[in-house]
């Protein structure tokens, strides 16, 4: 065979592949490579801006912790504040109870005795996290207000790093911390499958905050602050319209408010860590991701109704691009996954189909590997996390598979949010399976009864 013939065949094959992988390529892989370089550039910029420890002034601050049946986790949360490296006399901790029915107050009372030199106050608000946070805003005294969820622990340096970042950047009014899952609990998980899922989740959090949100932050495009750990300048909070009590996603709603109504600077503080428990089970992951997706749609409904023209707003408004990626692309992606199966039926060569799938999977692995490199460089002040992250990097081979599973959960969130009323209760797969089985078994009962009736009729009984 002539060389030109071989070359033209190779080009043809390549073009065929390019055509098929164009969807994942443009939607996921190109943005991830782009964000890699932007975050690398940010790292270099940050290194130049570093200041000495003594250059910082540490003001009085308020920590707001909404309490809702938090008895099991509250003590660990308060201890992490108590043992942080921020001067205790400069902290004022507000615990806002919003309808607990457990013994959270007892735990608080014990902590009050144990941690005498940490100023703490208990307040009662109406039910709902948004109401609790609104009450905290009005009762806060500090220059900065830090929202912390009661189900996690702050890293020792988290508070100081956030305050330092505010002091360094007068144009920033809101900072979100980095949320990670607890490594110890992950490794103590007995069930092998759940342990793998939890490791994937850990990597997902690392990448979502230190690669994804870091990139968004650098481009001033943070879609949402972390509800579990975020901080605000008190002056900015007082100008806001407070937390919205109607949505399941009050944190995203608040982020949109600050950005669209007040044009406030919102950034990620990449060296302030907050540690939460890993996911309980796959079915909890399923309900959690559905609720997150619903939150995104609700907030878009509140803020983007007038900006929903793709041709006009695609380049103008990054939030339209987020929506396009999360919502619109989900449909061609779904078709695309099934089209792969269909290709086999319409006599495409099996090796080409399997080869394409492997090639795409490897591209996804490459994309998560790029994020991994970035995240690794950003894990400063947390040597244990860095070491853990590095030692478990083989999970990168499975991460695209995990992301694939999460994609279906988010798609379920899109569809279910249309019909179901918003609820903190989302059905688990077990509950959904049970309701399906019930319908089917009722049908069989009806058929059996009908059969019996006919037989009876025939025998004139």
């Amino acid at each position: 065979m002539e060389i030109s013939t071989i070359l033209s065949r190779i080009v043809r094959e390549l073009l065929f592949w390019l055509a098929w992988i164009i969807i994942p390529f443009t939607v996921e892989i190109i943005p991830s490579v782009r964000s890699y370089f932007i975050v690398v550039r940010k790292r270099m910029k940050d290194r130049r801006k570093q200041r000495k420890e003594s250059d910082y002034y540490l003001p009085e601050i308020t920590l707001a912790i909404p309490i809702y049946n938090s008895a099991d986790t509250l003590e660990a949360c308060l201890q992490s504040i108590y043992y942080s490296d921020y001067p205790r006399e400069l902290m004022d901790v507000l615990l806002i109870n919003n309808g607990s029915v457990d013994n959270s107050f007892e735990v608080y009372s014990n902590c009050l005795v144990e941690m005498k030199d940490l100023p703490m106050h208990w307040l009662n608000s109406g039910q709902g996290k948004a109401k609790a946070l609104n009450m905290a805003i009005f009762n806060s005294q500090g220059k900065y207000v830090i929202h912390v969820d009661s189900d996690g622990k702050l890293h020792r340096k988290a508070i100081k790093n956030i305050v330092k970042r505010f002091e360094k950047s007068p144009d920033v009014d809101c900072l979100t911390g980095v949320v990670l899952t607890d490594m110890e609990i992950i490794e103590q998980t007995d069930d092998f499958f759940l342990r793998v899922v939890r490791r994937c989740e850990f990597f997902e959090y690392c990448q979502s905050f230190l690669a994804g949100r870091n990139y968004e932050s650098e481009r001033d495009r943070l879609y949402t602050v972390a509800g579990a750990f975020s901080a605000f300048r008190k002056s900015a909070l007082m100008k806001s319209q407070l937390y919205n009590i109607l949505t399941v996603s009050e944190d995203t709603q608040f982020t949109f408010q600050l950005r669209t109504l007040f044009d406030k600077g919102i950034r990620l503080c990449e060296n302030a860590f907050f540690i939460v428990d890993p996911i309980d089970s796959l079915s909890r992951l399923y309900t959690q991701r559905q609720r997150w997706q619903r939150g995104e749609i609700e907030v878009s409904h509140m803020f983007l109704q007038d900006d929903l023209h793709i041709l006009r707003d695609f380049f103008r408004n990054f939030m339209i691009r987020v929506l396009l990626y999360d919502h619109t692309f989900a449909f061609p992606r779904m078709i695309w996954y099934f089209a792969i199966i269909f290709l086999v039926f319409i006599n495409y060569p099996m090796w080409l189909v399997i080869g394409s799938v492997i090639a795409i999977y490897l591209l996804y692995v490459l994309s998560v590997y790029l994020s991994y490199k970035n995240v690794h460089a950003y894990l400063v002040d947390v040597d244990d996390v860095k070491e853990y992250y590095r030692s478990r990097r083989s999970i990168l081979w499975l991460l695209p598979l995990y992301n694939f599973a999460v994609f279906w959960m988010r798609l379920a969130g899109i569809i279910n949010s249309i019909k179901r009323t918003g609820s903190w209760k989302t059905f688990t797969p077990e509950e959904e399976w049970a309701s399906f089985k019930e319908v089917v078994s009722n049908d069989f009962m009806t058929i059996t009864d009908l059969r019996k009736g006919i037989i009876k009729g025939i025998h004139n009984e």
Partner: protein
Amino acid sequence: MLWLKIATFIVWLYVVYALHRAELFFFKFLVGSVGMFFFLMMFIQPIILHPLSMAVTAVTGIPGDLFGFYDSYYRHVTLFIPKDTISVSMIIDYECSGIVEIMAFSSLLWFYPLYNNLEKLVIDTIGIALIFLVNVLRLFLIAVLIYYYGNEIFYFAHTLFGRVIFYIFSITLYFYVFTRPHIIRQKVGVFKYGNIDNIEPDR
């Protein structure tokens, strides 16, 4: 094999109906639209592929005749593009007809729970007409590329360029049919608190 296809079809109908009664909206959408796509491809596609290809060829022929780039022979579903001394004939086959795109769109739409049946009928009609017209535009551009650059450009024009055009159009169509109306119609503020076991923290 026909009996097997019909049996699968009946099972699919039953499963969709059961999912509907169990109020499992996502699974109804998933099983419904994927199943509908497969059955459309199995039962309807063989019937309408040829007439559709003929229609696409005939309509694509209009701008071809107008500008003199090529001739169309709709009975043979072929575009005939003269290039220097040779001619390139482009057969409007299964991939060029836009049938896959039409069926994928219709399947998604008919099980998307946002619209009522009348709305679905109107949107599907407009959607199919748009897909048809964009397909005509795509074929016209491919033929023009071949007219100017010859047969060598064919593979690039057809496999990559044509698909990109379709891809951009589909995303725009999907945005206006699936995303935008959903965001606008989304109900907010009707949520209730469940019990503690079902509360997941925000992160």
